[in-house]
C-alpha cells in the first residue's frame, strides 16, 4: 500500500491542492499581517468568487481561466467596500468585534447565496476537466497542474507588489507602525481597505482556478476557511512564504494522510495540526511576530 507508485501521485495531487490552499491563505495572511484581524468571511468570499466563475461560464460561456481577469478586480472591489464600509466601521478596533463582524458578514453572504442559488451543488464541465498530464510516475489532471502553476505565479506577483511598488511600501509601513504611517501622511483607512481588497482578490483568483476541478455550493467556503486558518498559523501569521509553504504542507498531509489512514483522517489531521500549532507554537514556523 505504501508503494511509491501510489504515494507519489498522491503527494503530487496534494501539492496541487496545497497550492490552491496557499492562494486562499495568502489573502488571509495579508489581511492579518496588515490589519491584525482574523477575517472569518474569507471562505464565503471564495464562495462568491466560485459562483461568479460558475455563472460567467454558464451564462456567458467564459472559460474559468479567462474569468480570472474579471473576478480578480471584482472581488478586489468587493473586499475594498466591505472593509471600508462595514468591517472597519463596525469593529471599534477590538479584535473580538472584528471576528464577530466578519462572522456576521459571512452568515449574510452564505445565506444570500442559499436564498438565490439554493443549496444545490453545482459543477461545470470544462472540456479539459479530465485531461491528464504525465509527470514522472504520476498522472495529474490538467486543471490541478494549471492551478499549481498559477498559484505560484500569483504568489510571486503578490510578493513583487509588496516589495517593489509604492503601494506595497505603504502597506508594509501601515502593517508595521500604523500611527507612524498616519503621521507621514498615509491614508491608513484607505490602505486597510486596499489590503483587504487585495486579500479578497486572492480568493477571486483561487476561485477561478478551483472551479474546473471542484464544485460550488453556498457552504463551500467552510471547506476552505479552516484549512486556510491552519495554513496561516502553520506558516506564521502574516508571513507570505509561510503561507505558501504551509499550504503545500497541508495539501500533502491531507492527501497522504487520507490515502494511508482514510479520508476522515485527512480532514481530522488538518484540525489536529491547527490545534497543536495554536497551543504549542502560535507564532508558526516561518517567522511572523508573536500575538
Amino acid at each position: 500500500m505504501l508503494d511509491p507508485v501510489i504515494l507519489l501521485p498522491a503527494a503530487i495531487n496534494g501539492l496541487t491542492m496545497g497550492a490552491v490552499y496557499a492562494l486562499v491563505a495568502l489573502g488571509l495572511t495579508l489581511i492579518y499581517g496588515v490589519l491584525h484581524i482574523i477575517n472569518f468571511a474569507h471562505g464565503s468570499l471564495l464562495m462568491v468568487g466560485l459562483y461568479g466563475a460558475f455563472f460567467l461560464y454558464q451564462a456567458g460561456g467564459i472559460d474559468p481561466y479567462l474569468s480570472l481577469v474579471l473576478l480578480v478586480p471584482a472581488l478586489f472591489g468587493l473586499g475594498y467596500i466591505l472593509q471600508w464600509g462595514v468591517i472597519g466601521r463596525a469593529s471599534h478596533g477590538s479584535d473580538q468585534n472584528v471576528l464577530l463582524v466578519t462572522l456576521g458578514v459571512s452568515i449574510v453572504i452564505e445565506n444570500l447565496a442559499l436564498y438565490f442559488f439554493t443549496g444545490d451543488t453545482r459543477t461545470i464541465e470544462a472540456p479539459y476537466a479530465f485531461e491528464m498530464v504525465d509527470i514522472a510516475v504520476a498522472r495529474v489532471p490538467l486543471p490541478r497542474l494549471v492551478a499549481f502553476g498559477a498559484a505560484l505565479a500569483i504568489a510571486a506577483l503578490l510578493w513583487l507588489l509588496m516589495a517593489k511598488t509604492d503601494l506595497g511600501r505603504a502597506i508594509r509601513a501601515v502593517a508595521k507602525e500604523r500611527q507612524g504611517a498616519r503621521l507621514v501622511g498615509i491614508d491608513v483607512d484607505h490602505i486597510f481597505a486596499m489590503s483587504f481588497g487585495i486579500g479578497t482578490a486572492c480568493v477571486g483568483a483561487a476561485a477561478a482556478l478551483l472551479l474546473p476541478m471542484f464544485y460550488v455550493s453556498p457552504h463551500v467556503g467552510h471547506v476552505f476557511v479552516l484549512v486556510a486558518f491552519t495554513v496561516v498559523v502553520l506558516g506564521g501569521m502574516g508571513s507570505f512564504i509561510g503561507a505558501l509553504l504551509g499550504g503545500l504542507i497541508i495539501g500533502v498531509t491531507e492527501s497522504l494522510g487520507g490515502l494511508i489512514f482514510g479520508e476522515t483522517f485527512g480532514q481530522l489531521a488538518i484540525f489536529l495540526i491547527f490545534i497543536a500549532i495554536l497551543l504549542f507554537r502560535p507564532t508558526g514556523f516561518f517567522g511572523g511576530r508573536p500575538s
Binding site: R89, A90, V108, T264, L279
Partner: protein, 322 residues
C-alpha cells in the same frame, strides 16, 4: 433588586407559567420552547464570553457532547432521561474543562481562543461522523415511549415547562454568579488579566471554572434537544450552526448581563420568524437576518438589548459599563 423589578419579574414569571393554558397552538409553543432553550444556552455562553471575556466560537462542542452522552446511554443502557440530565451536564462540563485546560494552560486569548474552540467542535463533528456508537452520519433516533418518567410528553406543554425550568435555572445561576467572588474575579479577568493576577486572582482556575460551568449548562441544552426532538446527528450536534446561534443570542442580548440572553433569544427568534412570515419560508432567510443583526449590534449597540433597556429604565445615565 428594586421593588419594581421584582414585581415585573414576578408578573413575567406568572405569565410564563400560564402560557401553555392560553396558547393551544403547537407551533407557537414550539417557538417559545426554542426561545427558552437558546436563552438558557446563551446564558451559558455569557458566563464564559460575557463575564469572563473569553469568546467561544465552538459551544457546539458542549451542546453535542451533552446530547450524545444522554442519547447513547439511553439507547445502549436504557439510561433514564431525567438522570441523563446529570450525565449531560457532567459530559459537557468535562469537555469544557478539557478544552479550557489546553487553551488556557497555553495562554490562548481573544481570537485565538475563539478559533481553537471552533476547531475542537469540528474535530468532534468529524469523530461523531466516523465513530460507530454515535450512529455516524446517519445519526441517532431515540425510541418513542411516551411517559413523564421517560421525559416524553404527549403535547408540547410538558416540554415547554422543562425548557422554562432550564431558562430559569440559568438566570438564577447567572444572578448568583454576578454576586459572587468568582463573578467579581471573572469580570476582573475580562477587564485586565495582569491586574487581576497581581491582586491574587488565580486566573487559570477562574477561567477553567467559567468554561466548566458554561460547558455543563450547554450540555444540558443538548440533553433537552435530544429528548425533545428524539433525533440527533453530527451536523446538528457539533455543526457550526448551533455555536453561532448560541453566540448570537448572548451578543444581541447584551454581554455580561443576567437577562441579556433571554432578551437576545426573544429578539433573535422573533425577528427570524417575522422575516419568514413576511418573505416566505425560504431556507437561509432567518440567518441573513441574524447576520445583519450581528453586524448592526456590534456597530451600534455593543452593550446589547440589555444595555438599551437599562438606558430606558435609568435615563439619567449612570455607572453602567460601556
Amino acid at each position: 433588586m428594586t421593588m419594581r423589578q421584582g414585581l415585573a419579574g414576578g408578573l413575567v414569571l406568572v405569565l410564563a407559567l400560564m402560557a401553555p393554558l392560553a396558547i393551544q397552538s403547537d407551533f407557537w409553543l414550539g417557538f417559545l420552547i426554542t426561545i427558552l432553550l437558546f436563552a438558557a444556552m446563551g446564558m451559558a455562553w455569557n458566563i464564559l464570553g460575557g463575564y469572563a471575556g473569553q469568546f467561544s466560537f465552538g459551544h457546539a462542542a458542549f451542546f453535542g457532547t451533552g446530547a450524545y452522552a444522554t442519547s447513547v446511554l439511553h439507547i445502549a443502557l436504557g439510561l433514564n432521561p431525567w438522570l441523563g440530565l446529570l450525565v449531560a451536564a457532567a459530559a459537557g462540563g468535562t469537555m469544557g474543562l478539557l478544552i479550557g485546560y489546553l487553551s488556557f494552560r497555553y495562554g490562548l486569548r481573544g481570537s485565538y481562543f475563539a478559533l481553537i474552540t471552533l476547531a475542537f467542535a469540528e474535530v468532534l463533528r468529524i469523530l461523531a461522523n466516523t465513530a460507530g456508537f454515535t450512529g455516524g452520519g446517519v445519526g441517532l433516533y431515540l425510541p418513542l415511549n411516551i411517559g413523564v418518567a421517560n421525559m416524553q410528553f404527549a403535547g408540547k406543554a410538558g416540554y415547554y415547562y422543562v425548557a422554562l425550568g432550564l431558562a430559569l435555572a440559568s438566570i438564577l445561576i447567572a444572578w448568583r454568579l454576578e454576586r459572587s467572588r468568582l463573578g467579581a474575579w471573572l469580570a476582573a479577568i475580562r477587564e485586565n488579566e495582569d491586574a487581576a493576577r497581581a491582586l491574587g486572582v488565580d486566573t487559570f482556575a477562574c477561567k477553567l471554572a467559567a468554561i466548566g460551568i458554561s460547558g455543563a449548562m450547554t450540555g444540558v441544552g443538548g440533553w433537552f434537544y435530544a429528548h425533545y426532538y428524539l433525533y440527533i446527528d453530527p451536523e446538528i450536534a457539533y455543526g457550526p450552526g448551533v455555536s453561532v446561534e448560541i453566540l448570537l443570542v448572548a451578543i444581541v442580548g447584551g454581554l455580561g448581563t443576567v437577562l441579556g440572553p433571554l432578551l437576545g433569544s426573544v429578539a433573535l427568534h422573533a425577528a427570524g420568524e417575522l422575516a419568514q412570515r413576511l418573505m416566505g419560508d425560504t431556507p437561509g432567510l432567518n440567518l441573513i437576518f441574524y447576520g445583519v443583526l450581528l453586524v448592526v449590534m456590534v456597530r451600534l449597540m455593543p452593550d446589547g438589548l440589555a444595555g438599551l433597556v437599562r438606558r430606558w429604565m435609568r435615563p439619567a445615565g449612570g455607572t453602567q459599563r460601556a
